[in-house]
């Protein structure tokens, strides 16, 4: 049965069913819900017993509900409180007090293929719900939880609109393959965000997650240890993030409109020579010819390319239930300018959630549909580097009509009139490039959960899901632009008029059986699932010719399109066994098959086991008033990883070269067939994780948290290794070789420092210590092998600054040891001869520090005082180092007075070192590796709840927020937080000021 037919056959009868039901007579009840201190509790769900009718309390705890006359009791439930049933009393307001927060443990947490109560979790799982999300202008979902979760490091990829982030859970388990966690949205596992080369996996979008509106997200659950993730088997080594979107709530339609408008500003310019300093420098060090080519202007090029940027983010949602059909529908519109001029993202999104229940709740259907349309205009980020380097004595406009009127470096003897290898005018680069795309994405699923009538302990669950996207774009550069001037091989045609297009389709079919049975006589409970999953990832990349603006074809693709595809088939099972409610055992097993491996290596098993002991429920703690919760968790599991492997890397194959890579025989140019390097022995990367954790709660759970110790050992590490020369068609092949280890501690504490009638003050803190070490890299143990060079830098073509070496953290810097003079100034070209052989050469390079922090911390605090609220969030990294490539590349004399016949500005670091930049070793000096530990205030905000200011039955909240408030660091570059540890022309993170307004009605 096709999916579409299936949909029709189930949805249509369901619709008919709803329409036959009708309403009884109604009455209105009001009241207020308070906690033990008498403070009003907001967000408590008030349900009329026996019906689907419900409402929620507003911020001061009061509620108003219209119920059928037959209802005799209301049920009050809220996260963090014990659920209470209160008989309906007519005539007077119902004031209800909810007790203690101990029942936070009854919170339901979404895990892979099911849900668990928080108290029953056996793995390291952190659940963050909407109320705890980060505040401010947030375009991509992962930023909602940055800094909130121990063990999870989220580093934004710069300040461009929708730029996305690098997410690392417990340090990442891989070297060359992917370190990104698996992301599951409403039960649909997504394809990786990044291609193996680091580009966005959806063409035309800077990050696929930017196509999910953060405002639709209800909760994010982070599964960290293998006992939690192993149910996702081969994709779980880097952790799993389960995103659950907001669902319909029963009751009358409730509308919410939120608008947030913000201004982003550049916090700080990169430190370059001022026009006066520059003039002085060239006059002192330049040749007469170089002095002569200086201009008379004083241009701050960075000021020319950056501008304050406006963002508006508007969301409208309606939630309620129509008869037995709870629904939520939302619309969102985002329009975000980048601080780098010309960049813009417009995003329109819609989401629909329907969750009807049929056959006396035996059949549950959940339908989630999300769709996003986005229009991008990308600013050419090369302008960032060009603005740092462009001669400040030159004007923006030349006064001449050539090259669009922009000043450019000229060379009268060249055909184009342009000076070869000189940087282009940064303003021209921005203004003369139109890089636009339209991207559409839809993620959806329909999940049926059927509780068998003849065996209610058994559920059958079927989940059909999809994630489709279409990205297309055009890049247009006029023929007058210097960057594409007369670029055809014969120097007769210029400009760029290119397009690209990609369709992606990810389809999912899953089905599992769930058996839950309580055996009261033996104090036991069993919850087991067994399932099957099929997922296909297919991409169609269309190829287009490279054309100039007048339609001259520079190159034609060999094929009109390419259609890479991979498939995953899985069988999985899980058993949870609970004895006396306090001894919990979980075992999972997943068998995955992947199309990326040869038949011999195709299938693999991923087992896990965990044990949890609820100490709090033991006699000796049961009556303790100090200890309100205590649980010990032990877990072990094996997971896999296959992202980063090409779809067909195991197959011997030949690829046709393009038309610029032919060879002449006689009078004809022959097309080439090249054999590709291949590795028939590729298989899964395997990670074994050990985890010991303790969840605690004290003083009626006003202090809660957990501490976890983990060890992750990755074996069969996918590593790009040298092939013995002569044995393959590529000298480097991705192969399963090498081992790596991550060890760490995570600690989280959340406290409610004050909780009384008018004031609540929450404070939370988390810290993670992670230690990464590569333990094997070659087939045979070889102590002389220095390692694999990685981390390309600007300055010398093909130069690298990092290395993967056994016994060291991944991506350790591989540098020369700088020698300093008495005054502490580095002496150019003088390095420690570490091996004392009388020569300073690459045998003297040593491993120095790593870009990964030893520890990272997050802290937040929220204060509520009557109708006012305020909060902030802080994040810190300790022990992370950065290679300051801007200093090393531009802060040398050779860059300023360039022998190539133009002048360029550079980092003021030049004035500290006075390096000439001659030779090739200074680039690899450890002088440029700086401590980039930092403390950053991610945001600070204030809010005011104006209540029913607009009219009764409405609630208005307003807020003001500042993001990226300050950064404390010793790092001398612009921003100490650059994923990968190489700082070169990083798109600055803006400082953003926002005002928001939220109206419920």
């Amino acid at each position: 049965m096709s999916r579409r037919k299936l949909l029709r056959s189930i949805i249509l009868p369901a619709m008919l069913l709803f329409s036959q039901l009708s309403f009884a007579q109604d009455r209105v009840l009001t009241g207020r819900v308070t906690d033990s201190t008498g403070t009003g509790v907001a967000g408590v769900t008030v349900t009329a017993r026996g019906t689907q009718t419900s409402t929620q309390t507003n911020n001061d705890g009061s509620f108003r509900i219209t119920i059928p006359s037959s209802v005799d009791a209301l049920i009050f439930s809220s996260v963090g409180f014990a659920t209470r049933q209160v008989p309906v009393v007519s005539g007077s307001p119902m004031n209800v007090s909810l007790s203690g927060a101990t029942s936070a443990l009854n919170e339901v947490v979404v895990i892979g293929y099911g849900t668990r109560m928080k108290k029953d979790l056996t793995g390291a799982v952190t659940n963050i719900t909407a109320k705890d999300f980060n505040k401010g202008t947030i375009t991509t979902p992962e930023q909602l939880i940055a800094g909130k979760v121990a063990g999870v490091q989220i580093t934004s990829n710069g300040g461009a609109p929708g730029a996305g982030s690098t997410i690392r859970i417990r340090g990442g388990a891989s070297l060359n393959a992917s370190n990104d966690p698996l992301i599951v949205v409403d039960g649909v596992p997504l394809a990786p965000n990044r291609n193996p080369d680091g580009t966005s996996s959806i063409s035309g979008s800077s990050d696929p997650l930017s196509m999910i509106n953060p405002n639709d997200i209800e909760s994010m659950n982070i599964l960290k240890d293998a006992s939690a993730t192993a149910i996702y088997g081969s994709r779980a080594s880097n952790g799993v993030i389960i995103i659950t979107t907001k669902k319909g709530k029963s009751g009358k339609p409730r509308f919410n409109f939120t608008t947030q408008n913000s201004l982003s500003t550049l916090p700080k310019e990169a430190d370059v020579l001022s026009p006066a300093e520059f003039r002085n420098y060239v006059n002192t060090h330049g040749t007469p010819a170089q002095i002569a080519i200086m201009g008379n202007a004083s241009t701050d090029w960075q000021k020319e390319i950056y501008d304050n940027a406006f963002t508006t983010d508007n969301n409208l949602s309606v939630s309620g239930s129509y008869k037995v059909l709870p629904y939520r529908v939302s619309l969102g519109y985002l329009n975000q300018d980048g601080i780098l001029r010309t960049g813009n993202l417009k995003r329109t999104s819609a989401a629909i959630n329907l969750s009807p229940r049929f056959l006396d709740d035996h059949l549950k259907i959940d339908l989630n549909l999300k769709g996003t349309l986005s229009h991008w205009r990308y600013a050419d980020e090369s302008a960032i580097g060009n603005a740092v380097r462009f001669d400040p004595t030159q004007p923006v406009l030349s006064g001449d009509k050539r090259f669009g009127g922009y000043f450019e470096w000229l060379d009268p003897s060249s055909t184009t009139g342009l000076r070869k290898l000189a940087p282009f005018n940064p303003v021209g680069v921005l203004e003369q490039k139109e890089d636009k795309s339209d991207v559409q994405r839809s993620i959806g699923n329909i999940q049926f959960d059927y509780k068998l009538h003849f065996l209610p302990d058994l559920h059958v669950n079927v989940n059909l899901g999809y994630d489709v996207s279409k990205g297309e774009g055009t890049i247009y550069i006029p023929d007058s632009a210097a960057s594409a001037y007369l670029r055809s091989p014969d120097a007769k045609h210029g400009g760029v008029n290119n397009q690209y297009k990609q369709n992606k389709s990810n389809t999912l079919l899953e089905t599992y059986l769930n058996y839950v049975k309580e055996f009261k006589s033996i104090y036991s409970r069993i919850d087991a699932i067994a399932g099957y999953s099929y997922q296909d990832f297919s991409t169609t990349n269309y190829n287009f010719p490279d054309q100039t603006t007048d339609g001259f074809v520079i190159s034609t693709p060999s094929f009109p399109f390419d259609k890479p595809e991979n498939r995953l088939i899985s069988f999985y099972g899980r058993v949870n066994y609970t004895y006396k409610g306090k001894y919990l055992l979980t075992g999972t097993l997943r068998r995955d098959g992947s199309s990326r491996f040869s038949e011999d290596n195709r299938w693999s098993m991923f087992p896990s086991g965990a044990f949890a002991w609820r100490l709090k429920d033991e006699e000796f703690l049961r009556n303790s008033t100090t200890v309100s919760d205590l649980k010990l968790r032990l877990g072990y599991g094996e997971t896999g990883q296959q992202e980063g492997i090409g779809n067909y890397d195991y197959i011997p194959r030949y690829a046709l070269a393009n038309q610029q890579a032919q060879y002449q025989f006689g009078n004809r140019f022959d097309s080439l067939y090249r054999p590709a390097g291949y590795n028939p022995n590729l298989k899964w990367e395997q990670t074994a994780t050990y985890n010991v954790g303790l969840d605690y709660g004290f003083l009626n759970n006003r202090i809660t948290g957990s501490i976890d110790f983990y060890v992750k050992k990755t074996t069969d590490l996918l590593s790009v290794i040298d092939q013995p020369a002569g044995t393959n068609f590529s000298n480097k092949i991705l192969a399963n070789i090498g081992d790596m280890e991550n060890k760490g501690v995570e600690f989280t504490i959340n406290t409610q420092i004050i909780r009384n009638k008018s004031v609540t003050w929450d404070f939370g803190f988390n810290v993670t210590y992670n230690e990464n070490k590569i333990t094997k890299l070659t087939f045979t143990n070889d102590p002389t092998f220095p390692g694999n060079l990685v981390g390309g830098i600007a300055g010398g073509v093909g130069s690298t600054i990092q290395i993967q070496s056994v016994g060291y953290p991944k991506n350790s810097f591989y540098v020369y040891q700088q020698v300093y003079d008495k005054s502490g100034k580095p002496i150019e070209g003088l390095f420690e001869d570490r091996n004392r052989d009388g020569l300073v050469n690459n045998n003297d390079l040593y491993r120095y520090k790593s870009p990964d922090p030893k520890a990272f911390l997050g802290a937040y605090s929220n204060v509520n005082w009557n109708k006012w609220s305020a909060g902030f969030s802080l994040r810190a990294n300790i022990g992370n180092y950065m290679y300051n490539n801007r200093f090393s590349n531009t802060g040398v004399q050779r860059n300023i007075i360039d022998p190539l016949g133009f002048l360029a500005n550079g980092s003021r670091n030049l004035l500290e070192t006075n390096f000439t930049g001659n030779g090739d070793q200074y680039l690899l000096s450890d002088y440029y590796v700086e401590n980039a530990s930092f403390l950053r205030m991610d945001y600070i905000n204030v809010g005011y709840n104006a209540g029913d200011l607009v009219s009764s039955h409405t609630n208005l909240r307003i807020g003001a927020n500042v993001q990226n408030v300050f950064t404390v660091t010793k790092y001398k570059g612009l921003d100490p937080e650059v994923s990968g540890g190489i700082d070169n022309n990083f798109y600055p993170r803006p400082r953003t000021f926002s005002l928001s307004l939220s109206l419920d009605f």
Binding site: K420, Y648, Y654, A657, Y663, R674, Y678, G726, N728, G798
Partner: protein, 536 residues
Amino acid sequence: MKKVILQASLCFSVLIVATIQSCTKDLNLSPTNDVTSETVYANLAGYESVLAKVYGAFALTGNQGPAGNGDVQGIDEGFSDFFRLFWKAQELSTDEAVISWGDVGIQDFHNMNWTSNNSFLTGLYYRSLYQITLCNEFIRQSADDQLSNRGISGTDADKIHQFAREARFLRAYQYWVLIDLFGNPPFATENTAIGGAPPPRIARADLFNYIESELKAIEPEMPAPHANEYGRADVGAVWALLARLYLNAEVYTGTAHYTDAITYSKKVIDAGYSLISDYTWLMRADNNLNTSATGEFIFSINYDGLHTQGYGGTTFLVHACVGGSMPASSFGVAGGWSGTRTTKSLPALFPGYPDFSTITDKRAQFYTDGQNLEIGNVTQFTDGLGVTKYKNIKRDGSPGQSQDFSDVDMPLFRLPEMYFIYAESVLRGGSGGDATTALEYMNDIRVRAYGNSSGNITAGDLTLDFILSERARELYWEGFRRTDLVRFNKFVENSYLWPWKGGVASGTGVSAIRKIYPIPSRDVNSNTNLVQNPGY
């Protein structure tokens, strides 16, 4: 109600069974555009396309011109070009060339302090062995049993056998590169399985025997000189490589083969090649004309500005030498890369130096305007004379097809080298030749250089030192110098110094270990059969 329940149950059961059955069936997916070896080698045309790669790997860096999808990993693709790397290893380590760039490892050539981690040496080594691997695969796929399995016979099979002989020649050439620069490389042949055990190491002397035997094995069946189509090797190339191999045999094996060198250089010289009339036409955009039936080029790597694009080979040679006040347009390029110049040792070989206006030898193609003869700073383009030998313009002065990619072909063998081999071998005691003929050959070269007989030498001038100098005057910047200096014991020794030799402004001798380059540590680490060259 029961009916509904029954239907629902049934629906789910059917669904589950159907999906599991329909979906487990296939995890075998194959690429859309790439093909398997069965498809490629199904017919003659497919073989020809692979042969084009076997040749094209000399001129291209990957499957996408000018860059993208490179052949050799772990080095910038533009740097991974065969002749660019070979040229750097053969010229930057000598008096003929300096380079201003700061790419890590490139200055090691001047400083003569390269290590086994040098990325340029590593790139060259892997490029050579990559090309050998391509040849091995092609030879393997061209075996008789493979052809008969695929139903290829008759003239198609004959053509494929000829393709395979050419692949054997190209493999022998790359093994010559390895024997000359690295000495004792791994030894992979058509019997080395892809993905199989690491190949054994071969000692330099054994490799000499192998190259010799391979070339001799194909010699009888190779097409006559000029009988093969443009771009492909003929027996002239086989002889020329044998002659070069024999000339250097003493360096490679300790045993001289000068008589053989005379024999094979003579075979080439007598095969109908002739010097083109104008030396300055050698390295020009239309120098494919030099490969005509009576031309000077014996075998060349052929570049094309439109169809064979890359950032190596002659594209590198015509761009890197342009800088300072040199007008890029007169080199047929959009702009120079301000890289390569020469030390004063090369111009000093031309009579009349240092007054360049008095030099009448047309081969002295130097650019002096704004260039300092002395090199105070190797990384300063204006220190050291410019060399204008390579230009992407035609004989008539019009530019090549592209401003960015060169049309200039790079001769791996041209006739004068054979004259030099003949003369040197005679002087070194080889038999089968004579000094009179050698003198004639030298004067043929000089007549072209001077435009008349004014530069002719006498029998008394014909010494080994003269030959070394004359080779430099004729063949400079063509990738010969290091091999020549090694053969003349002037490469590492204190007896011959040039500016910045060994990293010292006035020049200094270095350890004898540097007569060959180290085996790249990356391969020593992945292939335990290998032994690092002494001293590294």
